[in-house]
Symmetry: C2
Subunit: 108 residues, 2 copies
Amino acid sequence: MKRDVFQAIADPTRRAILVLLTAQAMTPNALAEQFQMSRQAVSKHIRILRECEVVEQQKAGREIYYHSRLDKMKEIDRWLEQFRQHWDSRFKQLDQVLTNLKAKQNET
Amino acid sequence: MKRDVFQAIADPTRRAILVLLTAQAMTPNALAEQFQMSRQAVSKHIRILRECEVVEQQKAGREIYYHSRLDKMKEIDRWLEQFRQHWDSRFKQLDQVLTNLKAKQNET
DNA sequence: TAAACCTGCAACTAAATGGTTGCGTATATC
DNA sequence: GATATACGCAACCATTTAGTTGCAGGTTTA
């Protein structure tokens, strides 16, 4: 099994959960209320998010608060860096335009 | 079916393909040589990448060159923005540290 | 102590994923 | 025209996913 940040953000529900848990720590129950989904379904997403190490627990009595780990989100940022090098370059942008033009000429 | 950038980058093989296709346009055959995988397997990944609109075709005789669409990668960058706001803030970073401390105190 | 609540985990199901092999089609070469 | 090559697509298979329901354990409260 993979279990990395990229798998964590692959699902739209998990992305929404991550956004919420970045704004503030929340319990599974509170999260489930935000979605049209059972508590257990949310719980399974949280489990995956935990395995991907993008969220952390914080127990408070019988409740468990979860919050996101921003350092893991930075991994995505670092991976994007190699693409940013290309879209930051004006030369490459021009190159892209020319490539698109050629592609259009040869379209199916 | 979802078919968005986030699904495109969920698979490690597809991420590798995307990196290669950003450096230079390549044919499916050329890509397959880079991985321990059949041409058809690569083809299936390319199909998904096309459905996610992160790569484009460019026919050249009986060969088809693929290249990445950097504008789609920017979508990830834009989504990351909401997290970047948090990790750029010193206050939030401190907040994170305190939250971690509290979490450690209450660990299982 | 008993009852109510919050949660995680196991079992199950339907659908999607990632891979395979085989085939049809279009292009290039002889 | 015949043959070889490059590719996409369909069928198939094993595994994973995303959801469900049901249950057990710990915490709070009466």
